[in-house]
Amino acid sequence: MKTPETRDRKGAAVNRCPDARALLPAYVENELSGMERARVQGHLDICSACRTEEATYRVALGALSAAPKPAHGDLYYGLAAKLDALERRPVFRPRQLRWAGALACLVLAVGVGATVVGQRLLSHHRTDTPKVVLPYKEPTPEPLPVKTVGKGNEAPQSPDVQPFVPEVVPHVNEDQPGEDTAADNTYKQQFQPAQTPDRSHRRGGRTDGEGKAISEVRDSQGRSLNDILEEFRKNNRVIIDKTVSPPVPTETNIRPAEKVDEAQTKQVDLPSMPDVRVMVQEKEKREKDGETIVKSRRETGYNKHGKLALIKLDLHAEPAPATPTRSGGSQPRKTTADEGN
């Protein structure tokens, strides 16, 4: 409750207890301004609780100020040894660091520049750089026929021009090859994937494994590749019969390949998948008694682009099986396609 005698000279209100207690630490340490000190003093004159709090602060902070500083031993004793160890190590001064940093930047810049220049020089001298040609090219329209009537002064009649409708040639997907266009041939001839040489038989550009033309190859439903492509153009999708499993390579279609070291490689052709070539590699190990033991069997499939399509590796010590197993590892299923073949 404010009373006239609790007001200070300027008539300002006396602080409340929270306000006064907030200033007590500074009041005790004589860190308040004259006006603030007077206001706190005025409140302490009428508030015993705050006076108690002020006394508590004086005792606590006084003890902290008066506490003797802890004595320490010889701090230099262990420090000298540590400093000596530092002095033995090379200490780089700022100038040295600057020169070292500049030298490092220079070496880095020279290295990067040499790498870039070397790559450019090598690229200019490289002869086997593939030239990538876009597979699809907008056909250029034929020039319009122009009829000229008369000679000289007569104005040429407007040509009888049919409205030009460019032939819509959909982009041929590489996975569904159709009849090769000139652009396709150029593309396929020039683009050489980075694979082992002599892979013309793997790219299903012209024939399948049995020497048939691509256009003559039929799937399980009797559709040719052109039919499939036409269906895709119309419906924008192709229905694939997933119930028919690919035929299992049998002995009839296994052609022995040339022996490579101690491994025998066999090429397996799948009639329904003319674009996939399966190479079966078996490594044989003969024991002292002459018994042949198949050490490993590896089946690797490549698509027409020569890229790895499937791979299967079996390690066993059993005699070589009479019939090759499927790449899935299970026993082969006889299907209508197999029986048809």
Partner: protein
């Protein structure tokens, strides 16, 4: 306002620069420190020893106040001067060496205190002598002779973020401006931190007195 130690200048303990005790101005102190630093950078090891001799007590007081253990404070103090030894070539001559040194000491001590995380209980029966008298006023009951170890242990109960401010203020007699400079904060922030640190210390002090009573 209270003038801090840095402004008053250090009297030094066993100064080796030839001066005879007494207070020096800030400029004189700074010049002396710069001269010693320059001599050290030229390869004079004795100059660093002079700096060490001049500031070892102050650094130890700061470190011991924050860490609370004399043995650990001993090691941390040496680490502070080792760090100063390595970083002196990068010290900017324009700023005050003492401020820079104190900042390193505070940071090192705080890191050591956090790493140890050792709570030390107050030896209540060993350090407190006075028995509270119900007839006495609350102030008199708290007015007892408290050994240095008791104050130090109460100080260890204060949160770490407030302890360094109390050490700089009461162990090093730094002004609020100097505290702000060492801690790298604004003057208002330093005032707030000091205010809260005092409140915490008072609360812990009262709790200690009640527990001992």
């Amino acid at each position: 306002m209270r003038e801090g130690t840095l402004a008053r200048g250090f009297a030094g303990s066993g100064t080796s620069n030839g001066t005879v005790g007494g207070e020096r101005t800030t400029a004189q102190t700074g010049d002396i420190d710069d001269a010693l630093i320059a001599r050290f950078l030229k390869g004079e090891r004795a100059a660093f020893d002079s700096l060490f001799e001049k500031y070892q007590d102050y650094v130890y007081n700061i470190v011991n106040g924050i860490v609370g253990k004399s043995e650990e404070a001993h090691d941390v103090t040496q680490e502070v001067f080792v760090q100063v030894y390595k970083a002196l070539p990068t010290f900017r001559r324009g700023s005050r060496f003492a401020t820079w040194l104190y900042r390193i000491a505070v940071n090192r001590a705080v890191d050591a205190a956090r790493a140890s995380k050792a709570w030390r209980w107050l030896p209540l029966m060993e350090t407190l002598r006075a028995t509270p008298d119900p007839a006495d006023s609350p102030a008199r009951s708290l007015d007892r002779k408290v050994e240095q170890s008791a104050v130090q242990k109460v100080l260890q109960l204060v949160p770490l973020q407030h302890r360094d401010v109390l050490v700089l203020r009461y162990y090093q007699d730094l002004s609020i401006e100097e505290i702000a400079e060492v801690l790298g904060c604004s003057l208002a922030a330093a005032k707030v931190r000091l205010h809260r640190a005092r409140q915490h210390f008072k609360e812990k002090y009262v709790e200690d007195a009640r527990d001992s009573g």
